[in-house]
């Protein structure tokens, strides 16, 4: 494997823009090298703090969007949900700050070969990569519907870009503070039927992905889900992020193996993931 081919790269990038919306922070980074081969579903591993930092591990953050060319040669957008010290530090970055990235990492959402109707489900920060994916799908001529959800209105992301691209955007919040009250999976069956969808894509917490997979299976539709697994390295060397997946095409078969979420994933077919064996569903 040649260093620097179409695999991940190390890049020190500059923060170009910061947007605080609700609970989430959107960082736009000038990152032409990472942007070049980035695809929806992939992530970056971001160093936390400066050289005095006691945090030796990076944080894995989904790439919410990437552009190439243009005035800055390439940008990468990250949507950060501040939860722990590392993500809070990231969320506190300002314009002009520099970040150390490794990326793009992981396997992206697989695109259908033709204009296959697709329903995209995003929960919280998961709305980011989905709006980007919606762009790629509609560019292939696929009709797309987007379902966005969160606990509250402050956790939503991606509604505006999704509305520009998708045939329909449905918003639900657990507490009803935006859109309808309910879970994203409440709106999913109607969307699948309405569109005669051939594929469902999802990004968000594992508990949501599992339910999305169940609904898709009930409608005999494949679901490709981007799993957020706890990671220590993001590059495939530490084996901390192992996920149990079924062997073979028949998810019901007894065999299972552990695969690295950062290399063989983070995108998996929902039916293959052995959800019951994940220690904790976030």
């Amino acid at each position: 494997m040649t260093p620097g081919a179409s695999g991940p790269v190390l890049e020190t990038v500059e923060v170009f823009g910061v947007q605080h919306v609700g609970d989430l922070v959107t960082l736009t980074l000038i990152a032409p090298e990472v942007a070049t081969h980035a695809r929806p579903g992939q992530f970056v591993a971001v160093r936390i703090g400066d050289e005095t930092s006691a945090d030796v591990l990076r944080r894995a953050v989904f790439i919410a969007a990437a552009t190439t060319g243009g005035a800055h040669a390439g940008t990468v957008t990250l949507v950060v949900a501040p939860r722990g010290p590392g993500t809070r530090w990231l969320a506190g970055r300002g314009t002009g700050d520099r970040l150390d990235l490794i990326g793009p990492l992981g396997t992206p959402f697989p695109l259908p070969s033709g204009p296959a109707p697709a329903v995209l489900v995003g929960y919280g920060y998961g709305g980011g990569p989905l709006a980007w994916l919606a762009q790629a799908l509609t560019a292939q001529g696929a009709p797309v519907e987007v379902v966005l959800g969160a606990g509250t209105a402050a956790g939503l992301h991606g509604e505006q870009p999704a509305k520009r691209i998708a045939e329909r955007v449905t918003v639900l919040t657990d507490d009803g503070s935006a859109g309808r009250a309910g879970s994203v999976t409440d709106a999913l069956p109607d969307a699948i039927v309405r569109l005669d969808a051939q594929v469902v894509y999802a990004c968000g917490p594992a508990a949501v992905l599992r339910r999305v997979g169940d609904v898709a299976q009930q409608h005999a539709v494949r679901a490709q889900v981007a799993v957020e697994a706890p990671m220590a390295c993001g590059t495939g060397v530490c084996r901390s992020c192992l996920l149990p997946v079924a062997t073979g095409d028949d998810g019901a078969r007894a065999g299972a193996r552990l695969v690295r979420a950062c290399v063989e994933g983070p995108v998996f077919e929902a039916g293959r993931v052995r959800w019951a064996e994940l220690a904790r569903l976030p």
Binding site: A229, P230, T235, G236, V237
Partner: protein, 331 residues
């Protein structure tokens, strides 16, 4: 970003002498932190490493421990992956074959639940030219001893090291991977030496725990994990110092929180003939090469003409230091 240039200090001879084993330079990628090389090969040329130590190989495939398996700690990482691996047959066919093809010097970490298993793996490595040495991971749980690691018990250590040395290819030196979690490390080291160890690799992770103050329970599924990273560095340097004193004649690979060339220099001065970079690689995939470059510069800046001149230097008194640094007489 340009790669570190290890040719920038041609005046320093970086050859690492580990008994019969000679490595081009003293920096290894530590066991369990470099996979079998394919991932790091995306970031740098693996042949520039002194050697790569593989994840521990067991006789059969092993699923390891349940998630969560790791947690960041101040200046460290607590992990409990549990020796997950594909088993020796798959390792030979895929991982070792690939590494050999790339021309990488390989140290194979060997583990097992009983000494027979260690020996079985060591036997299967015999004759493979890519295998430069074996690292016997006796710092893994001894299932016959309620999970206590082999390396915490002199008799258990002796049994495993003896079995590995007898089963292994005589051309492949066997390094005992020691743990700091013992009362008398010098004693354990001497016993391993008497049982046939050709050298030592230390330290493995240090037993630790993090309790989640929200769930009010240990963070790791397994409770106790192994701590690595800069937080353990002083423990590791102390251990290298002690083993060098206890067994002066055998080579040492030192590891434990090395993140810079100056960190590595501490280990060399304490008595390590080579060093391994581990957890630092998770934050910086190029860490081993960077450490090598920085170590070379640090040696040159301090007037050492070779790595060998610096090994164990911190133990020397003034007279010994003067003798050590005297230019070699020409033949």
């Amino acid at each position: 970003m340009s790669e570190p240039d290890t040719d920038s200090n041609p005046a320093v001879d970086l050859t690492a002498r580990l008994g019969p084993l000679r490595l081009a330079n003293p920096v290894l990628a530590a066991a369990g932190t470099a996979g079998a090389g394919r991932e790091l090969a995306q970031f740098f040329d693996l042949t520039r490493l002194g050697a790569l130590v593989t994840p521990s190989v067991m006789a059969a495939p092993w699923a390891g421990r349940p998630a969560p398996r790791s947690s960041g700690t101040p200046s460290g990482l607590l992990s409990a992956n549990g020796l997950v691996g594909p088993g020796v047959d798959a390792f030979l066919a895929t991982d070792l074959a690939w590494l050999a093809d790339q021309g990488v010097r390989v140290v194979v970490s060997v583990a097992g639940t009983h000494s027979d298993e260690f020996a079985e793996v060591a036997r299967k490595l015999a004759g493979h030219p890519a295998v430069a040495a074996i690292e016997a991971n006796i710092s893994c749980p001894n299932h016959s001893s309620r999970g206590q690691v082999f390396a915490a018990d002199a008799i258990a250590s002796a049994r495993v090291i003896g079995a590995v040395r007898r089963a292994a290819d005589p051309a492949q030196p066997v390094f005992a991977k020691l743990t700091a979690d013992v009362t008398d490390l010098g004693h354990i080291a001497r016993v391993c030496a008497d049982s046939g160890a050709d050298g030592f690799s230390l330290i493995n992770t240090v037993a630790g725990m993090v309790i989640d103050t929200d769930t009010l329970a240990p963070v790791l599924a397994d409770g106790v994990g192994g701590l690595s990273g800069p937080a353990v560095r002083p423990i590791a340097v102390r251990c290298v110092w002690q083993v060098r004193r206890a067994v002066p004649h055998l080579p040492i690979i030192g590891s434990g929180g090395i993140a810079t060339g100056l960190d590595a220099l501490q280990f060399v001065l304490a008595g390590a003939d080579a060093v391994a970079v581990g957890t630092a690689t998770f934050g910086d995939p190029r860490a081993p090469l960077r450490v090598l470059d920085e170590l070379a510069a640090a040696l040159a800046a301090r007037g050492f003409s070779s790595l060998g001149q610096a090994v164990g230097f911190a133990h020397l008194d003034d007279h010994q230091r003067a003798v050590r640094r005297r230019p070699a007489e020409s033949p």
